[in-house]
């Protein structure tokens, strides 16, 4: 492991350490294992938001909808057609991509605002399709008795599998953002005109990013279905999309590890929330609060610089030498 790799993959290594610690702490405790699996699954969804919103600037409210495509796909394939869950995994990756890419091609030429509204409508449409799926998706009853994975029959092994998925995703995510493609995505976000002047096919690039993020969400949905062994019409709704967005924003959507931190924090908070009705108040209120105080999220904010600025603001007599880097 040379030092260039260590520097580049620092987020992955930090995450690896955190996962190892988590594995030790939760070893043999079913309650915490279950929570850790759910955190891993939501981390994947939040990473999908991070890639889409944080890097490419596409505010997508359809994350949970793409996850539900993956989840229902694998659920239908395994329970109705007796296929292996790994065929389901293939479907959970390919179907969201096939769905997202043409949609994004049609929509990414829109300004960011109408685009976000359009993703919300796509999410509503997919939700509606699940409701009206009749025999196939089980309609209002849903699909139960989805088989567990042969790779991970117990909670302990599921814990390793789902965090393994997160680790692989983060590894690839870091590599992507370090590549010329990643640079191009960031340029396209900040200044599409500049990006196309650089020879980047902006619509294709943004649509591909959207499709890849949909695929990550699809994998999350696949894990979700095989972990809970049940998918209902209320499992992956727009509300989940809002929660996932919130997780990414709280942690810092533009950072690599931010979405995972946000997912872990919010899910731990949810454990101690009283009633389901008040969840919206907490989530929505937190979102507004975070956007006002630290719009770049926990990991994205330069807290030290912020504090220093506060102190300077209070003592206006302090002079800052020009040319000295803070």
């Amino acid at each position: 492991m040379n030092s260039a790799f260590r520097i580049r993959q620092r987020p992955t290594l930090i995450l690896l350490g955190a996962v190892l610690l988590l594995s030790v702490l939760s070893y043999g405790k079913p309650y915490w294992l279950d929570n850790s699996i759910v955190i891993a699954i939501f981390s994947l969804l939040a990473l999908s938001v991070g890639l889409c919103y944080g890097q490419a600037g596409i505010l997508s409210m359809a994350t949970a909808a793409f996850a539900s495509v993956g989840a229902f796909g694998t659920a239908v394939l395994t329970t109705r057609y007796g296929q292996s869950p790994y065929v389901g995994l293939l479907f959970a990756v390919v179907a969201p991509v096939l769905l997202a890419y043409p949609l994004a091609r049609a929509l990414t030429r829109l300004s960011p605002l109408p685009l976000s509204i359009a993703t919300f409508m796509i999410s509503s449409l997919i939700e509606l399709a699940v409701h009206e799926g009749g025999e196939l998706t089980g309609g209002y009853i849903g699909i139960s008795a989805i088989p567990r994975l042969s790779l991970a029959p117990t909670a302990q092994s599921m814990h390793f599998l789902s965090w393994g998925c997160v680790l692989v995703t983060v590894y690839l995510y870091v590599n992507l953002m370090r590549s010329t493609y990643g640079r191009a995505i960031n340029t396209a976000r900040h200044d599409p005109l500049r990006a196309s002047a650089d020879g980047v096919g902006v619509p294709h690039l943004l649509a591909s990013t959207f499709a890849v993020s949909a695929a990550i969400a699809g994998v999350g949905g696949w894990l979700y279905a095989h972990h809970l062994t049940y998918m209902g019409p209320d499992s992956m709704t727009t509300n989940v999309s809002i929660q996932v967005l919130l997780m990414a924003v709280i942690g810092g959507a533009q950072t690599i590890l931010g979405p995972i931190v946000g997912a872990a924090m919010l899910l731990l908070v949810t454990l101690y929330l009283p009633a389901a009705e008040t969840q919206g108040m907490v989530f929505g209120g937190t979102l507004v609060f975070v956007l006002m105080v630290a719009p770049r999220g926990l990991l994205g904010t330069e807290w030290r610089a912020l504090m220093r600025r506060r102190i300077f603001a209070r003592t206006p007599t302090t002079t800052v030498k020009p040319g000295v880097k803070a």
């Binding site: 919103y53 300004s111 359009a118 409701h131 200044d191 005109l193 809002i242 919130l246 108040m281 989530f283």
Partner: protein, 289 residues
Amino acid sequence: MLLEILEFLVRGALLGAIYGLLAYPVSLLFVTTESVDLAVGAYAVLAATVCMAVSATLGIPLGIALGIFSAVLASLVVGALSLSINRGSKPDPLVMVLATFGFATVLESIVLTLYGKDPMVRQPFVNFWQMGEIRVSPQAAINLATGLVLLTALYVWLYRTSFGRDMRACAANPGAAALAGIPVQRISLATYMVGGLLAGIAGILILYTTGTSYSAGLGLTISGFGAAVLFGLHSPLRGFAGGVVIGVVQALSAGYLSGGWGTAAPLLFILIVLASGRANFSHIVGGRA
């Protein structure tokens, strides 16, 4: 057959007048601050809920007044939020969209906690008017009249008063407006409150027309947005016509398409309208100010 279509058309126009009211705040905000208030539908639901809860004990007029007042109050909160979020040098409109999205969830949750999941509806009119062969609820007349009166008032306000002129100046070019001594921030706060007022009135009308429930907010926002986009976002007054069209599409698809498709068709319609790029605001230099 023709009669049936006519009846759906009338029913659609009845709904559409309400969407027209919701379209106005969407497009006005869009042109003044280049952001969208996703909580518009939530104000309407809030107004309906407060009206429903208060008029049971304190009488209907007070209920309606308090309902509209609560919507204006909620929009004032969002307006204040927008001032503090857009403080920076280069505000990102998406952040504001996220914030209003969060606020809409808060309002939805408040309504759910206060009132529960029951649908809310009031239909005071038992006798329908017989117009030729079709039956029309007197509520339709109230909706249409309210819509037209407010439309006229808004027109006069926007194009015949100095405040309206200031507002249009902010919409055209906020920077130049500020240099000309127009209090841009105060105007944008006022824009939010006018939006809340209209959404509140729309909410009361919805309560008396089709009824609503705690989760209807975002759907209403989407309908309002579609109505605003349909004939061009840059002229707020066209939103009313757009609203009528969206209402008619909804009524027709609910009438002629089966269950799920009936709900999906209006969404698809708005999605296609959006995809045609009507809502794109063009900056000359690729998004750079």
